[in-house]
């Protein structure tokens, strides 16, 4: 199935002398521009004691540098009708501005300023401590957060993915301003970043402006590569979380291949067969797809759950493939788990029928198209695929690879990865006082 040319025309890429990778794509339908700055630092670069430090540093990059004092970044972007934000993930920290095209220089100057000159004042770091703790506490109000965190914590023995992104409260209470600043200095540098610009501009003139803002910046010492490699899991691990809550939840997670692995495409298709498709390369897409998926049929139509999902993320190191269900209050977790396992075993025993596979590929194609609407989403896809695969061209080649996945591929990866010894099972059970 051909990807529509309007969403898949090419991009340009160049690397400055200081190592900053610059990825650009002209999209001139509207007078807008989306600017992303991606840093190759996230939860995977953290150790116990300072877990959550990348995310906290991300907050501090809005607090002022040399050219922008505190509050000035958000004010300047608001004044021109722009939007901005940032997020931290296990593999990266990324910042974006979406602006009228004539305000593009503002975004370049913000990113050029905060890469090296963020101050991280002690009193600002202190004020942000409670904000980050509050962010965590907001998540703690949801049963699914506790279950996910618990399953992650047993799925790995060594790899920092087990620690997540937000960090435990004990680390968030203990971390110091100097630790934040050292982390910032270790990872924020031109040679550990990619700048992505998509929108209404002329590429040569844009590159002149990018050079003017970034070329004079010095590179830093390359961050040390992550040496921790997880040994294969050797048997099922099970956890039960008992807390006040409305109902039971079940989560099954298996170690799965990273984005660069040739099996990644088969895993995306397998996940979509089970839980319906979403775009693997960008946020966004249509809601309400996937009601013909196997898990929806078996658990929601089957009267056991109010919702189900299957997830597989494109990551730098091997991460998790997971299925989960929100159970009806009268359903025992063991029963739902058995049905989830039945569906996984079915993938191992029978090839996915051709018509079903075609339906799933069509969903994936459509979701990728939807997810590339707008300059910000396109910038995300280019920057994200550059980061996890190491090549921005994967924003086109990976969706194409999905269409080439065969029923045999799916059966093979299901047999190889979705095994008992590679499985982590979590149940959330409402504790007696609220059950």
């Amino acid at each position: 199935m051909a990807v529509d040319t309007r969403t898949a025309s090419s991009f340009a890429q160049t690397t400055l002398g200081n190592g900053l990778r610059v990825i650009t794509r002209e999209a001139r339908e509207r007078p807008l521009v989306g600017v992303w700055m991606w840093y190759r630092v996230g939860g995977r670069n953290e150790l116990p004691g300072t877990t959550g430090i990348s995310h906290w540093v991300e907050h501090m990059l809005f607090k002022g540098g040399k050219r922008f004092s505190k509050g000035e970044i958000t004010k300047a972007v608001s004044r021109v009708g722009g939007a901005l934000n940032a997020f931290t993930w296990i593999d990266c920290t990324a910042y974006f501005e979406t602006l009228p095209a004539d305000a593009l220089d503002l975004a370049l100057s913000i990113e050029s300023d905060r890469i090296y000159d963020t101050r991280i004042e002690p009193e600002e770091a202190e004020a942000e401590r409670t904000v980050v703790i509050s962010e965590r506490e907001g998540s703690e109000n949801f049963p699914e957060f506790w279950l996910r965190e618990e399953v992650q914590s047993v799925a790995w023995r060594e790899h920092p993915y087990r620690l997540g992104v937000i960090g435990p409260k004990s680390d968030l209470r203990a971390m110091t301003r100097d630790q934040l600043y050292a982390h910032y200095k270790r990872y924020y540098m031109t040679n550990n970043a990619s700048l992505v610009v998509v929108g209404d501009f002329d590429t040569p003139s844009l590159l002149d402006r990018v050079r003017a803002e970034f070329e004079h910046l010095p590179p830093g010492p390359d961050p040390a590569p992550l040496r921790i490699a997880e040994e294969p899991q050797t048997g099922e691990r099970r956890v039960v979380v008992r807390r006040p809550g409305p109902t039971s939840y079940v989560l099954l997670a298996y170690h799965a291949p990273p984005a660069r692995d040739p099996d990644a495409a088969a895993f995306v298709v397998l996940t979509s067969v089970l839980g319906g498709a979403s775009s693997p390369i960008a946020w966004g897409g249509a809601r309400g797809l996937g009601r013909s998926s196997r898990l929806y049929r078996a658990l929601v139509d089957g009267g056991l759950a109010s919702s189900v999902s299957a997830s597989y993320e494109l990551t730098v190191d091997p991460y998790l493939f997971a299925v989960d269900a929100t159970l009806r209050p009268d359903v025992e977790p063991a029963r739902a788990e058995a049905v989830l396992l039945e569906q996984i075993e079915r993938l191992q025993h029978e090839p996915v029928p051709a018509d079903e596979l075609e339906r799933v590929k069509r969903q994936l194609h459509a979701q990728v198209v939807y997810s590339l609407e707008g300059v910000t989403n396109q910038g995300f896809a280019l920057g994200f695929m550059d980061l996890v695969v190491g090549d921005a061209a994967a924003w086109e080649s990976f969706p194409a690879a999905l269409q080439a996945v065969t029923a045999d591929d799916i059966q093979r990866v299901a047999q190889q990865y979705l095994t008992e010894r590679n499985r982590n099972v979590g149940w959330f059970r409402p504790s007696p006082e609220t059950a």
């Binding site: 007078p31 409670t130 509050s134 979701q367 939807y370």
Partner: protein, 437 residues
């Protein structure tokens, strides 16, 4: 079928107001059966949003015993129709990569299909099928009821939802629909029968209660033909469209409710007051005031004080939901219980300061430039454009609304904004609800 109006949407702030293609043009067509069609061609992504807005939502329920009937009826639309069984519907939509969603609010049911442009013909037929011929099968009703009851149980455990409910119960009298959420309660959801749903459906679903919004890579002529084919022979349920109004309501006395919930770490706060109707003359001034208080820069003044300066919360912002009747204005914040009193005091102090002094000159200038300059961004996606067209239709703003919008915003003065805040955000009517540990 005759064109009623057509207007190019222009922004005064060139060049950022207009797309390069000049395609930001909305058209309206009326079918003889009363169905309205709003169309905007946006060719930059090969997809389309087809959204039916039906005035068959929670405000049509006749009493508290019916609360949740509109929501359950909406949820049953996709559980099988006269010509398509539920499973076949799911397979066909998935086979096109099309997403169907049904959201039931107070004023409208929004039934939307997002599909690839090539599939718009069949997608329109499917949308018509679920809106016109749902079967409300008894078996499916029981299954969906079970899902809704689980959802309600999760909502009972969600601090944000519990705070919102407690706020509404204080802010609106029991007979007003805004007193409760559109979802209904366990008792009402357990009580609804297939006949209740049929009756509600027959009373309220019809072409003269419906606006079809189509945005994306499809021309007007094709859209009009598809609408005619899918909806042209739909007969009105009632002779005249009823305006989707809600009664006005007395303003509440100031008050506070706290709901203790086991196992929670964060308290969610909802603080605010009923305000005005979307059609009220003060609407734009109050909306601008809300922008400065709770959105501008990064979550407005509440974000600046409560998060940036004091570090008391991850989020603190405000929103104005002016609809029909007195829509709510509320501040929302999530805070640690130890910081609760300080956060509440800070929010109230900031509101008082705003009512006394209004926006600063900088805020007035930046607020206007951010709203006007932000329009192209807001309209960049088909979903964003469909949302604005839906608002234009629901509140009868006229197809030239986006062209007029910059002048409306620029004409506002600091005095008007301050006066609107004093009138509508008075401490005497401020209601607070807190749910948490």
């Amino acid at each position: 079928m005759a064109p009623v109006a057509s207007a190019a949407l222009r922004s005064s702030r060139e060049p950022s107001g207009l797309p390069r293609s000049g395609g930001l043009r909305a058209e309206r067509l009326d079918l003889p059966n009363g169905l309205r069609l709003l169309h905007n061609r946006a060719p930059s992504n090969p997809s389309v949003v087809v959204r039916a807005l039906v005035r068959a939502a929670a405000s049509r329920e006749s009493s508290a015993a019916e609360h949740g009937l509109a929501a359950l009826t909406g949820r049953m639309l996709r559980q099988g129709t006269e010509h398509i069984a539920k499973e076949a519907l799911a397979e066909e939509l998935d086979g096109m990569g099309a997403g169907l969603s049904v959201d039931v609010g107070y004023a409208t049911v929004a039934a939307s299909i997002k599909c690839l442009a090539a599939d718009i013909g069949r997608a329109s037929e499917i949308l018509a099928e679920v809106l016109r011929r749902p079967t409300f099968s008894a078996d499916e009703l029981e299954r969906v009821r079970g899902q809704v009851l689980t959802d309600l149980k999760e909502m009972d455990d969600n601090t944000r939802v519990v705070a919102e409910r407690a706020w509404r119960e204080q802010a609106y009298p029991a007979e007003h629909r805004y007193h409760a959420l559109p979802t209904g309660r366990r008792e009402t959801v357990e009580s609804f029968t297939r006949d209740d749903m049929e009756r509600f459906f027959r009373a309220w679903y019809g072409p003269n209660q419906t606006t079809l919004v189509v945005v994306g890579d499809v021309g007007l002529e094709q859209t009009a033909a598809l609408a005619e084919r899918a909806f042209g022979d739909w007969r009105p349920a009632r002779p005249d469209p009823l305006p989707p109004t809600l009664p006005s309501t007395p303003m509440p006395a100031a008050g506070e409710a706290r709901v203790a919930m086991a196992g929670k770490t964060q308290a969610d706060v909802v603080l605010g007051t009923p305000t005005l109707d979307r059609a009220a003359p003060d609407y734009y001034a109050l909306s601008f005031g809300n922008h400065v208080l709770g959105r501008l820069y990064f979550m407005g003044r509440f974000g600046e004080k409560v998060r940036d300066e004091q570090g008391l919360a991850y989020y603190a912002y405000s929103e104005l939901q002016a609809g029909f009747g007195r829509g709510p204005w509320v501040v929302r914040a999530g805070v640690n219980p130890a910081n609760l009193e300080r956060a509440l005091a800070s929010i109230r102090a900031e509101l008082e300061r705003f009512c006394a002094d209004g926006p600063t000159e900088d805020e007035q200038r930046d607020g206007a430039s951010s709203l006007i300059g932000g329009l192209p961004r807001q309209l960049e996606t088909n979903e964003g454009m469909a949302a604005v067209l839906g608002e234009i239709d629901l509140f009868d703003l006229g197809l030239d609304y986006l062209a007029r919008y910059p002048a409306i915003i620029q004409s506002l003065t600091r005095e008007q904004v301050t006066a609107a805040a004093r009138t509508w955000l008075a401490p005497a009517h401020l209601v607070t609800a807190i749910a948490g540990p």
